[in-house]
């Protein structure tokens, strides 16, 4: 069991290598309940690899991940969803051959049912009806697109849909991988509005290149450079830290 009981999600001394390259080197980072945090760094800094380790896409060579004190380092992504951890992808990741509303229905269905073969075989898509789905459509301005095929909507709309798919599951921890990539300013504002509504309600980790968009939203920041977490802590403290100014701002700005 993890000694730090304050943390809902805690990664300790994580190291991940690909062949001879160390993508993530002895990184530790934790999220408190209902805290919104960001992981920033330039391209190739190891943010997404670390993120993939948190979500179960990769198993680290060294280190441990705790969720509510339980070791989840080797747990499959499906089991992590059961625990309440949900993620989005860097590239908008939706189901193009389904209708927009069916994307939300599938996400909602899984969050509220065990996805056994028996269950999914005997459940009908058109019977997955919930006020939560309608609410999500409305919140994310997707109502008019509900019956459109996802393959026919814009990249920005897909990005919004993906975040909506995560929110409809009402996760305990939401991990967003570059949620604003490819979005217009208006769409970014819409997404931020939704994220601001979650302040003190949900635990969220956002991976971003640049902090500027989310500086006021996040309470905690971790800065990664070449696979190493060079600083982490309260947002303004970290951003004013000498090493961050020297190594991160020089790289990213």
């Amino acid at each position: 069991m993890n000694s730090n009981s304050q943390m809902i999600l805690q990664a300790e001394n994580i190291t991940k290598r690909f062949g001879g390259m160390t993508a993530v080197n002895n990184v530790s980072f934790g999220l408190k309940k209902n805290e919104i945090a960001a992981l920033i760094g330039a391209n190739g800094a190891g943010k997404t690899t670390f993120f993939n380790i948190l979500t179960g896409n990769y198993i680290p060579e060294e280190g441990t991940i705790y969720y509510k004190g339980q070791d989840i380092t080797r747990l499959s992504p499906e089991r992590r969803v059961d625990l309440g951890i949900m993620r989005t992808f860097q590239l908008a990741s939706t189901f193009d051959n389904l209708k927009v509303i069916d994307n939300l229905r599938l996400a909602y269905y899984r969050a509220n049912n065990k996805a056994t073969l028996r269950n999914i075989f005997f459940s009908r898509m058109d019977r997955i009806v919930s006020a939560k789905i309608e609410e999500c459509l409305e919140t994310f301005n997707l109502t008019k697109l509900a019956d459109r095929m996802t393959g026919q909507i814009s990249l920005g709309e897909k990005r919004v849909l993906e975040i909506a798919m995560s929110m409809v599951t009402d996760p305990e921890v939401l991990l967003l991988d570059e949620p604003f990539a490819g979005l217009s300013e208006v769409e970014i504002d819409e997404c931020l509005k939704v994220l601001y509504q979650q302040v003190h309600k949900k635990t969220i980790l956002i991976v971003e290149h640049k902090i500027s968009k989310i500086e006021d939203l996040v309470e905690k920041v971790g800065v990664m450079v070449e696979g190493v977490m060079i600083a982490s802590g309260e947002t303004h403290e970290v951003l004013n830290c000498e090493r961050v100014r020297r190594e991160y701002w020089k790289t990213a700005e």
């Binding site: 969803v81 189901f95 051959n97 389904l98 209708k99 069916d102 075989f121 019956d147």
Partner: protein, 328 residues
């Protein structure tokens, strides 16, 4: 209710047409079409819904066929029971084989299925020759006794029975393709398997069940084939016919409800009719397949569905949901 009526009406219309054709076309031809369409339905489901192309379908056909054949040759005389045994044998094999094969993707899945087909052919032709009689096969005509309700030993009886079975299979796939959460998750496996995993769905289980369903339906077609032809030999598993189910699926429209029926009609038609005039009838199938694929890659039914959808939407860019309309 409206959707139910639409899909069910479609199925009824198709089968009334098929039944009326009995007065024009020989029952033997139509029976073969119906059995082939059941055979291709599973393959079409795998290609259209999961993006898995299998060149091992003859193997799955053969397990159903031999299940029925061995029962009739060694154990009993009732064709109903034989079909049931064929389906169960196929189900068990598919549950076992699926556990290994669905771990593979794209070309690896295709090639390993083909390899399994080669192994199956060897099994029935050589390894089990003592019981299967290899290329000579099991001759069952004297071992099948008339069955109650529908006599499966008569041409009309087996035609009617295959017909009813096909309706059942169509209704089953209608549910899978258009209504169930399972059908939608299968489509998601093809679309974005990783995302589905991260929504919490076990994609291995989904692919496994899809594999078992698709190939057990092929086994059912195999069992019907044995009862219809009153014999089964090792050639049913011959890898040289591995492309037939894929060609029928692609020709008609993979993943569509009626694609396999249309594909079978064309395929068997070309085989039975054109082969009377041209010895290499496969050449025509090849050309036809290329033309249909170049015309839109969705097969005849898929392309027609797109065409009517465009007509319906009167030029607006929005097309109806494929999950609703039975397309890919």
């Amino acid at each position: 209710m409206k959707r139910f009526l639409t899909s069910s009406t479609g199925i009824i219309i198709v089968f009334v047409l098929l039944f009326l054709l009995k007065g024009v076309l020989p029952a033997a031809f139509l029976t073969e079409v119906v059995i082939y369409s059941i055979y291709a339905m599973g393959c079409s489901f795998l290609i259209g819904r999961l993006g898995l192309t299998s060149f091992g379908q003859p193997a799955f056909l053969a397990f159903g066929a031999y299940g029925a054949g061995i029962y009739l040759y060694y154990f009993g005389t009732n064709s109903y029971v034989a079909i049931l045994v064929g389906v169960l044998a196929s189900l068990l094999i598919n549950m076992l084989v699926g556990t290994f094969l669905v771990r593979l993707n794209s070309s690896y899945f295709t090639l390993c299925n083909q390899a399994f087909c080669v192994v199956t052919f060897f099994l029935f032709q050589k390894a089990l020759v003592k019981w299967t009689f290899g290329d000579n096969g099991l001759l069952l005509i004297s071992r099948m006794k008339p069955t109650p309700v529908i006599d499966l030993t008569t041409t009309n009886g087996i035609y009617l029975f295959a017909f009813l079975v096909a309706i059942g299979v169509w209704l089953f796939f209608n549910y899978l393709l258009k209504k169930s959460v399972f059908g939608a998750t299968c489509l998601c496996v093809k679309d974005n398997e990783q995302k589905l995993r991260f929504l919490g769905y076990n994609t291995f289980n989904i692919k496994w069940l899809a594999f078992v369903i698709a190939n057990t339906v092929a086994g059912l077609a195999g069992a019907l084939y044995t009862v219809y032809f009153c014999m089964v030999n090792a050639n049913i598993a011959n890898v040289s016919s591995a492309s037939e189910a894929v060609a029928i699926s692609m020709l008609g429209g993979a993943g569509t409800l009626f694609g396999p029926l249309v594909g079978s009609f064309l395929f068997i038609g070309l085989k039975d009719i054109v082969s009377q005039f041209i010895s290499h009838w496969e050449v025509l199938v090849g050309f036809l397949l290329i033309v249909v694929m170049l015309a839109g890659q969705k097969g005849i039914v898929g392309s027609l569905e797109d065409f009517f959808a465009k007509q319906k939407s009167e030029g607006t860019p929005q097309t109806p949901a494929l999950t609703e309309e039975g397309g890919l």
